[in-house]
């Protein structure tokens, strides 16, 4: 249903959006590693990297616990769901909340997820003129394994390392009603002034 180059394109768009929107400081590390199906989030390459870097095991997202932010981009022939799983540990909280006393951790990660999904939406609009994006919603991480029940045409998970010790898990799920094939060129320079348009 979704061609391999379209899957690669969706992945490239996600990488670009995550690298542009998830790091809180421009110079922060943002390493994204795909998680093979069946493995626990964080296992694999990023786990090795975490060990090498001296990070604790608690730093990795321990699916399926905690909360995930869910967002949907809908087109005429497909819908794409982005699920971002933020650990609510001290390092993650310190990284994202910083000095913001006005907002809760949930509100802040929902906002960041919204920006990330919005960047994907903007990129996808270049290939699919009719798209709309939902507002974010928090769900239990135990819902994530049930994505299989939606009979997705494309399902892929990633472990994202931000800075030295913050780990975020992401899952992309695309349900298509017709064959999808496109090649995304993500080499365009990121526009930094479009944030308000995303809402």
């Amino acid at each position: 249903m979704i061609s391999s180059q379209a899957k690669d394109s969706i992945e490239r768009i996600f990488y670009k959006a995550a690298q542009a929107r998830l790091p809180m400081a421009p110079g922060d590390v943002c390493d994204i590693v795909p998680i093979k199906p069946g493995s626990v989030a964080g296992k694999g390459a990023i786990e090795a990297r975490a060990k090498d870097g001296g990070a604790t095991q608690a730093g990795r997202p321990q699916a399926p616990t905690g909360q995930v932010v869910v967002l949907t981009i809908s087109g005429i022939l497909f819908r794409l769901m982005l699920l971002l799983h933020f650990n609510e540990d001290d390092s993650t909280r310190d990284y994202f909340v910083k000095d913001d006393a006005q907002s809760t951790f949930g509100e802040i990660v929902a906002e960041i997820s919204n920006l990330c999904c919005g960047a994907m939406n903007q990129e996808l609009l270049r290939y699919f003129p009719d798209l709309g994006m939902s507002t974010p919603y928090m769900l239990s991480a135990q819902c994530v394994p049930h994505l299989e029940n939606l009979k997705p045409s494309y399902l892929s998970s990633y472990a994202i390392q931000l800075g030295d010790s913050v780990y975020v898990a992401a899952t992309l799920c695309v349900c298509a009603a017709a064959p999808i094939d496109f090649v995304a060129d993500v080499s365009a320079v990121e526009e930094s002034s479009g944030e308000l348009e995303l809402f």
Partner: protein, 240 residues
Amino acid sequence: MTQSYLVAALMGSVVTAIVAYFLHRFYAAQATTRIRVEAHARTDALAQTQARRTEETGQEEQAKQELESAIVDLRDDLARQIATTDEIRVALKTAVEEKDQWTQQARQIADEASRLKSLAATFERWHEQMISLMTQNQDMHAKNHELSAIVRHVVIVSLNASIEAARAGPAGRGFAVVASEVRELAARSEELSKSYRNSLHRNDLTTTTTFQDIQAGGKMITASLGSVEALANQLQSKLH
């Protein structure tokens, strides 16, 4: 003497008269010849003038015929032009009427697209209903959690009952069977509770993704209707 003078005078007068007569005749003949020559010259000039006039008249006649022919042609042309102008006028009138109709239709499309954009409110209403459904789901999660805690407690109680039955020896044999049955029921309840929890999580995901799809689809439709409205407005302003 006097007579001779008179005769001489008479004779002199006669001679003078004869000379005067001849002189008169000579000068008269000269004048006649001169007048005749002048008359000939004038006759020739008049003939030439007459010839030129005749030639000019011919040319004028030809020019007149050409002009008349041109006038006929122009009249025909004018008639044709008038006919064409009438046709064009009719076509223009039809085009103007059609343009007015198109303008009206473009306005109708723009109005309709604008009206349909309020569908977004309907989609938002559906999305808000998700919150209500999810609240119910969370309530069921809490109840299931409570049920799970009770079942775990029952398992412990049944284990204690089994221990007590074993202590009672042969008298507690029947009680041991009951305790075992209770433990069995508790285990089945625990399985059921886990399964129910899974169903609730699945339900959470399905509900959320479905309603988000509705919400995002609504935004997509609203944006598309916005484009249709903008295009219809552009068309309307071009037709004006």
